[in-house]
Symmetry: C2
Subunit: 148 residues, 2 copies
């Protein structure tokens, strides 16, 4: 069976957002929110443009998804994000009651999974490492270009 709308498909959409961020001089992280196979929010990191440390891709995507749905809880939604969410975004994911989080590259230094006790409720499904190499490469390329 052909399943065009698998995790890799959606992660590619998040990766497109990350690439947009890079073009704008933002640390390239992208996120989308999917509800019933539909993308209801897409966002990329905008901390520089908005001059706001809270403007991570995940935060903007969660806010946009709540607007799209007309309610603050994202119970049947999945968040795709190219990089493991940080502490702040992990906390926001927890509040949002997303049912599933899929991330690409791991962030050992700032990712929420380093924290104990678990930041996310055990009912939230977490899928790791989808297109991890591509998601990491866009970050590595960004910092390589910065140092040039």
């Amino acid at each position: 069976m052909i399943t065009p709308f698998d995790d890799a498909y959606y992660m590619r959409q998040a990766l497109q957002e990350a690439e947009l961020a890079a073009e704008e001089g933002e640390i390239p992280v992208g996120a989308i929110v999917v509800w019933k196979n539909r993308i209801i929010a897409r966002a990329h990191n905008q901390t520089e443009r908005l001059m706001d440390v809270t403007a991570h891709a995940e935060m903007l995507a969660i806010t946009a998804a709540a607007n799209a749905i007309g309610g603050k809880y994202l119970k049947d939604c999945t968040l795709y994000v190219t990089l493991e969410p940080c502490t702040m975004c992990g906390g926001a994911i927890s509040w949002s009651q997303l049912s599933k989080v899929v991330f690409g590259a791991r962030d050992e230094k700032r990712g929420f999974e380093r924290l104990s006790p678990n930041v996310l409720h055990s009912k939230i499904e977490v899928v790791r490492g989808i297109m991890a190499a591509e998601c990491q490469a866009v970050v590595d390329d960004f910092f390589k270009n910065l140092r040039k």
Copy 2:
């Protein structure tokens, strides 16, 4: 020496914000940001009004303070908040590089201080328990009225 602008003075300002939240049917948490003895941002929880789980008092105050200062880092600023910040807000405080955080009541269930390793950089000064009883009372009263 009379010092009108001590931690209790500023916490009272945060508490006024919490009381505004309660009047609006929001879980009553208030926050202010102070820079050189000046209040540059004040905010209260608006998750219901904005229909956005990320709209905690601290998040709104951090965003507003960055706008007031004209830069995303709040290096010489102090955040006063009536309740111990949650995981999300602890992460945001960390990103913002605030120099000091003062909170009133403890939040044992959701507060950032339950997490390990420490969410905040060790350079950020944390002061706990300023007007804790008053800050807790405004939350307790809110939930008592809800149950009526």
